[in-house]
Symmetry: D2
């Protein structure tokens, strides 16, 4: 699909791309701002083990002064984790330390760091929602406040590699997609692009593990409040709708409104999405169903057969979050239902990996020219 | 709605209703056939503590000879649980022991017991799927074998008290509803009956705890295969569709086909269902939405305000399985989505209580003339 | 054992015991102060369903103004739960509402309510640690501040019914035991009293569900921090040691020091304790082991055969928290290990029921003259 | 400690060590026999990603014919996992495929493969219990049948790298330690070797995740039987005692008998062990405690400061399985308790990694001359 939004590299001061931070031929210095949450922890893990990244600075207000291994004991095997210490977030220090900076900050806060880091020449991969939308008005509608840096919106690239790979390659500001959007867009976009489904009536029913709520001390996310519990939340207008619908609309060539219902389930990690879609053509006979099925299979094959992180399941297999937790994989399976005339598509991913930090590293690999699976297997 | 299906008491030999088993003025002798699974265990619990039931026989092939407390140590406080022993399933013994017999058996097997027990004068409350459908053909379509006792299908009463209370009162054979069907029918039937929603395009997306799979030694239900996992299964044509659609069709007055997707989540008990419904009238303005909302609220109030086991949530509250596990409650909340034009309804229940054994005891209370909440609070 | 501490009813103003609060012949008015935590919720549940209690007041600062059913939706079936509203904690109002008051407050705070409530003639059942010790010095050593009402310490009765039943019967102030202490004392006290084990070298290794930490918004108790985790905490000097050792010392007739290690495991409820004990006599031969085993069995039989809430397991069965969660039961099993010369004893209980609110209701039943199992089956 | 048992390379036919299987300078061909369980799956994961291993054959009776990715969808990113198929277990084929063979088979079965594989020149790393003991009599005592290949017992090396590194380097048959033994031996052996603790009275209280029971279709390990449950099992004489006591005895220079109690907790992976130890010297004063503490700290530092996979925690930190799950780390912390005179030591590991497959790969790295952390970070 090329670059759906026609994004091109801008001409801002941060637009030329030197790379003075390449410490050896094959390693790029990277920093993480705001690394005390679950996404930050996963970023630390992936970048500590990345063959082409050198983690040079990690910031966290609450953890400043402590080593990575003190805060995240699971990394104790890594010698660097025993020595590298969290610092206070400081744009100047971060910009001098690294060529590529990952922002794992709350929305609103991320933009405050992105602007000066870009001005100082860094490439920024932002995991927040701040640069995922192109419309500042839509941002305000869904996030409740004015966008802090609207001028950057058109320069940011939506970091969904399977659809924006070329744009990511040249990006200086990557807006890494949300966890739910990734689980919904990857199964839907190829079908919509191919005209196999209608752009109306789309329903996405998702279940997420509790890490999606972040590492926040709130009663709702206590163990005893989540364990042995399942509940919907954020209905009917969850914030992630904004970026999901924007991306669907770009591909559909017209405004798309969908139904999206997130549920909280008692697992640490993982998002499962069940999509209810209407095929563009009816399939009343077995022959029609077989023909339509063949077109859907071919569409997915064309889109994803060569993708390292999209796993098209075969036979009777259905996605299961336990198969993808800890990996950057997204599983997809689909079924035509001749009784209802609908197409059901199922996906599973790790919300912290393919839904956040893993996908951000995937973008990092792309824009740095490294193998796309580096640090992700 | 009266008796939707026009069920009347039949004239079979088991149709007169003496009650020679009433041991004291207020206690009825009851038996459970097949009490080693999760539903059987819950039945034992409810009936041991029931103020008007005397548990006189409990059968189980694997547990025969052991006391209730040996098999289910949690009942050790009950003196009867320390003395009553499981026996081998034997129609003659059971029929002599009890006036009301609960069957907690696999489908197909239940009918083999129901027929002779009815002939011997017992009232039967069957928790299996054997008598939930009126059509033997539909049974065969969904369960894969001929119905073992088709003549009884029209005599059985579908044991959903909120809709078949009058018929249950006179029933000699109650087909207690399935867990998913209960979670889908209670939120949907009032709206459909009132003409507030269309009978087409209904989608039910459900999540169930693992007890729904029964106490079976299968790899798929091992702790490590279910924990930290969520997956869809039984798509797109789960067996429970048959009874759901039959009940919806009765109320709609025409055949109804719905979409139903069950998912397995890592909790012991609990079903959460999210329903996607199309209001019969559009609501494009705020005024239209308010008017429609008022009608929906009134419809639910009329249907359930006096029901002891349906809890209509108010304000921002949404159903949560942790609020209903261990109770016979079903929670309902709803939201109109002006963006999509849909009505979303959410329900939560304990699949083993309101979805199985609790509801069966509710029917027992009704047909015995006891307070409907007896043994259920 | 009679009353181990020789407690007798005092002669304070609150010592005469009228009972003007008896609303009908068989119901006593009760109140709960501080009912928003897990123990408070369980107290509400038990007292709402209690055949001889009428819940007349429930206080909670954060929930004041809301009905019980709004805060605890699981009680929605109870008509009273739909009408009774939480009030602000106010001694005057509470004392006028109820004859027996349960305190489910943090330690230190409980005493502030207990003193005036006792003065106003109420009987107080305190679930906090404030009155469990007889020594104000020991309280200060373990709780870090001066005891707020040391004069009451000698009047309080330690509410472990299996050992203080007679004293509880006459008590005006019951100090309901802690969750860990209950799980350790019930298996140990009979053996120690009978001289079957030494009072030295006792080790108690316990695992608790997360509800034991209370409903507090702290990072350590978030779902993702507890799920898929097990860890020791509070070592080597957990506060509960103070009451455990005091009770052991009373029975042993000399100071007892034990080793106690609590662990946090990912379950909502339940405590499992493994005790390592040294038999007073050696058992080197099979005959010696058999003789000792017979004495241990007889000791436990004598202590607990008639107790409704202590379940002595037989054969190969071992305690399992899943068998006691939701019940007021404590399970006990034991094994002699000829290789090590030790006696291993295992116990399981629900920390919120037998370890807190259920045991408090048991004391309530005793001091009110009701059947001890009322509201607890 | 050198080689505690004085093991030397034998002179059997499998004793010379060519390495014709080295496909490139840096990769060794490896095979896994019995790769359908949890340990087998982890071995596949580690070896697929190992920089110096080439997975050339994987056997499994139930999965023969399927690709790795079909059986373990989480490996779908690996191109080899999409092509390599499970084969039936066949010594001839395996021996021709690989120079190093990992056995992930039940005890008793493993020896049947080990003998011919060794004869054909393979190096064998066995994850079962078959070669962990030196005494065939002790094997029979604990495992209930004659040892199938007693002649090999003295040639096998106990694969605990931190203590047998030199012997592993030359081994042709490595008996990789059990999960519980690893969690107990690593914290205990240094103290025992240094004479800091007595060899008597040792108590090990352990909790294990359910993966420790293997992927077996048994009722006891169903989700609903393990979730919200904790229970002891295998008391008082668990099989793992045999290898724990043998290793302790070697270091102590005299027979050691310990107390070991395993518990099953509802997590997928992870073992936590709490050890109760008696210091060889008393510490009644603060000065004595400080002096003893310094010796313990120095002892652990000397043993483990340079070990990549043993993490000595500092300050207030205590081991937590969530910090080690998915890693080859074992965490250790300790506390002196002046009240009881005991030394408490805590450890946490992933039972499937450091307790099984990760440790086996560690041995593989050692005997192959690769960096010890290869494939394990």
């Amino acid at each position: 699909m090329g670059r759906p939004g026609g994004l091109v590299r801008g001409d801002a001061p941060w637009d030329s791309k030197p790379n003075p931070f390449m410490s050896q031929p094959e390693k790029i210095k990277v920093a993480i701002v705001g690394a005390s949450g679950y996404s930050g922890e996963e970023l630390v893990y992936r970048l500590l083990n990345h063959p082409h990244a050198e983690l040079s600075a990690v910031t966290s207000r609450p953890n400043a002064g402590q080593t990575l291994a003190q805060v995240f004991p699971r990394f104790a095997t890594h010698s660097q984790a025993r020595t590298l210490r969290f610092i206070q977030p400081d744009v100047e220090v971060v910009a001098q330390s690294a060529g590529v900076v990952f922002l794992a900050l709350p929305h609103g806060v991320a933009a405050e760091f992105a602007v000066p880091l870009l001005e100082k020449g860094c490439t920024v991969i932002d995991l927040s929602a701040d640069f995922r939308l192109r419309s500042a008005a839509r941002y305000k509608e869904f996030y409740g406040h004015e966008h802090p840096a609207p001028a950057l919106l058109e320069k940011a690239v939506y970091g969904l590699p399977e659809f924006y790979r070329a744009a990511i390659r040249d990006a200086r500001l990557v807006a890494s997609p949300g966890c739910y959007p990734t689980s919904i867009l990857l199964p839907t976009l190829p079908l919509l692009r191919a005209g196999l489904i209608r752009s109306t009536g789309i329903i996405a029913d998702s279940m997420s593990g509790v890490s999606g709520a972040g590492r926040k001390a709130e009663l709702d996310y206590l163990f005893c409040e989540c364990n042995e519990s399942v509940r919907a939340y954020g209905v009917p207008k969850h914030r992630h709708l904004s970026e999901i619908e924007e991306q669907l609309s770009i591909v559909a060539g017209q405004p798309v409104v969908i139904q999206f219902t997130p549920h909280l389930i008692p697992v640490n990690r993982g998002i499962h999405t069940t999509l209810y879609l209407s095929p563009a053509s009816e399939f009343r006979t077995e022959a029609e169903a077989a023909a339509l099925g063949a077109r859907i299979a071919a569409c997915y094959q064309e889109a994803y057969a060569a993708e390292p992180f999209v796993h098209l399941l075969e036979g009777k297999a259905l996605p299961d979050t336990k198969n993808v937790v800890g990996t950057n994989l997204l599983e997809i399976a689909w079924r035509l239902d001749p009784r209802s005339g609908r197409l059901l598509v199922f996906s599973a991913e790790d919300n912290v990996v393919k839904g956040a930090s893993g996908q951000a590293v995937q973008s990092f690999n792309i824009l740095s020219g490294f193998p796309e699976t580096a640090g992700l297997v």
